[in-house]
């Protein structure tokens, strides 16, 4: 299966909205039709043909080469197929995605996986603030699927997470898992201050603890839980190091007691 390849000519003058370039919206289109798709976010018209060199292939597998942080909404709304990106991407990559696989060989901006519903996103670099989080006015953030970030993430990762799993192999900024409704957030390295701020339910797992844990989380002792083995077994093909973390004894904190206290933070090696 030859992928459909889009190679960016040069860093665009304006931010581009790449949400039309998802497999289900490209399926059945000719090279000419694809080249005419508009991507501009200002009044100056920019088409796929203007910004990219296009090599036709199977639209189920889209490859974007030479990407840069001005390409926003990469893979947004994707329902099936695969998108591979070589380079960085801008904001809202994979937003509202319902299926398929988005692979970014680079860094991603803010609101990556925002309100995502299903599918998988992998980022080899780092991601910005609000990974999986809702935009202003939305009730819930991510509600399904899996996000793997090999680097670090910014503040408020998994904000208002409702379902699904976010795994960060690096560390995180402050307020990781803020206002979580349910779901799972795993941070292998150290988190910033106050993880789980006002979380209702859900699970946060911190491999190396946090800079400051809110006093509204109650220590429930150290445990080795079967549930962690299940998460580990699921994650092993994606992140062997995370799977190894989950086999160790973890200290459980219940909270946020400022809300309902049904959420939990597990902490590995406390330092």
């Amino acid at each position: 299966m030859t992928p459909l390849v889009l190679t960016l000519h040069q860093r665009p003058e304006q931010r581009l909205d790449l949400s039309p370039l998802v497999p289900q919206r490209l399926a059945g289109k000719s090279a000419n039709e694809i080249a005419r798709i508009e991507l501009q976010t200002t009044r100056v018209r920019v088409t796929v043909g203007d910004a990219f060199r296009l090599r036709m292939g199977d639209a189920q597998h889209v490859r974007i080469e030479g990407a840069c942080d001005r390409l926003d909404q990469v893979g947004a709304g994707m329902s099936a197929g695969a998108i591979d990106v070589a380079g960085d991407v801008g904001i809202r990559a994979g937003r509202l995605m319902t299926g398929g696989r988005l692979m970014i060989h680079g860094n991603a901006g803010h609101w990556t996986a925002s309100a995502m519903k299903g599918g998988e996103i992998e980022i080899t670099g780092s991601a910005g603030d609000h990974v999986g989080g809702p935009l202003a006015g939305e009730v819930a953030g991510m509600r399904g699927g899996l996000v793997i970030v090999r680097g670090n993430v910014g503040a408020r990762a998994a904000d208002r997470l409702r379902r699904g799993m976010i795994v960060v192999e690096g560390g995180a900024g402050e307020y990781a898992g803020s206002r979580m409704i349910a779901g799972t957030l795993i941070l292998r390295r150290k988190a910033g201050a106050l993880p789980g701020y006002l979380m209702k339910r859900g699970t946060i797992i911190l491999g190396e603890g946090a800079r400051a844990l809110s006093p509204t989380f109650a220590d429930c002792g150290v445990h080795r839980l079967v549930a962690m083995r299940l998460v580990g077994a699921y994650l092993k093909p994606y992140s062997a190091a995370t799977a190894a973390l989950l086999r160790r004894p973890l200290r459980r904190f219940a909270g946020d007691m400022a809300v309902s206290g049904h959420g939990e933070i597990f902490v590995g090696n406390e330092s």
Binding site: G144, T184, T203, L225, V226, A227, A233, H262
Partner: protein, 302 residues
């Protein structure tokens, strides 16, 4: 009845008559293989016959730690009942009373089916609000806090309507000891067959029954035609040299599993031979009009 002889053992030219059933499977794991097995034995206790127990249940096979969802040693258990509602009732009661209660246990779906039965979805209320729902990788399970940590249980398990109950072998020998040796050999062989169980004690039943009774209101009574002490008094099915009869009843998730189990059982009896084991193998049926599944012994010979 015509018979044929295989390695000195007489095989009746007859068939086992079996019925369609509803079945499900669960995987029980624990910290050790011993506790996984103990939990499964407790859960499948008092589950020999749907007539008096509500369901028929047994251990399908032990599972290596690598073959279970949580990487701990486990056991796969099969449950059979005559209706979906009775199967649900038995599954919920048995998991709640025997698996939830067992130290370190966890319970997972053991069957993928288009239809499902409630597992954790029925048990989660034990958590009294502290239960935690987790969904990932296409699975949904519940975490219920208990006194030794947490009980983890899949939300649902699969249901099959293709299951078959009532495959059987009648094992006849010259002495009680030899007949039991043959029946044990057959039960051990059937244990190894996937998707099939023999629900009676150790896989063996000694009180085969016939339909009806001389007493009003008794629906089943002793199978006098196969009772050696009545050989001279009733219209017997036994030869002069038969002193003891044991039966193996087989339930399977598919008709093929029942046939495979019967084949394995016959092969084990034949292998043991007539000197140390049985001299004749038969099967029970009701004339062929009641059950849709017929297993002819002559088709199942080794």
């Amino acid at each position: 009845m015509r018979t044929l002889t295989v390695k000195g053992i007489r095989i009746d030219d007859t068939f086992a008559e079996a019925f369609g059933m509803r079945a499900t499977a669960v995987i029980i794991t624990a910290d050790t293989a011993r506790w996984a097995r103990q939990t499964a034995i407790t859960m499948t206790g008092f589950a020999t016959s749907v007539i008096g127990c509500g369901c028929e249940a047994g251990i399908d096979r032990p599972l290596d730690a690598r073959a279970t969802p949580d990487g701990r040693p486990g056991v796969r258990v099969l449950l059979f009942a005559v209706s979906t509602s009775e199967l649900q009732k038995q599954l919920s009661a048995r998991v709640a009373q025997c698996v939830l209660t067992s130290p370190g246990s966890a319970c997972y779906a053991g069957l993928a089916g288009t239809e499902s039965l409630r597992l954790g979805n029925a048990l989660r209320y034990f958590g009294d609000g502290w239960q935690i729902s987790k969904r990932f990788g296409g699975k949904h399970h519940w975490r219920i806090p208990v006194m030794d940590g947490e009980f983890v249980c899949d939300a649902t398990t699969g249901l099959t309507k293709q299951a078959v109950g009532g495959g059987n072998l009648l094992i006849m020998g010259r002495s009680a000891q030899a007949t039991l040796a043959a029946a044990e050999a057959a039960a051990r062989a059937i244990e190894k067959v996937a998707d099939a169980i023999a629900p009676f004690p150790g896989g063996i039943v000694r009180s085969g029954s016939k339909v009806g009774s001389k007493y009003k209101g008794v629906i089943a009574s002793t199978n006098d035609a196969y009772s050696p002490t009545l050989k001279g008094a009733v219209k017997t099915a036994l030869d002069a040299d038969i002193a003891s009869v044991l039966e193996i009843v087989i339930d399977g998730l598919t008709s093929q599993a029942v046939a495979d189990a019967m084949r394995a059982g016959i092969a084990a009896i034949v292998k043991l031979g007539p000197k140390r084991g049985a001299v004749r193998i038969g099967a029970g049926n009701y004339g062929g009009k009641l059950g849709p599944h017929h297993y002819h012994l002559k088709d199942l010979l080794p």
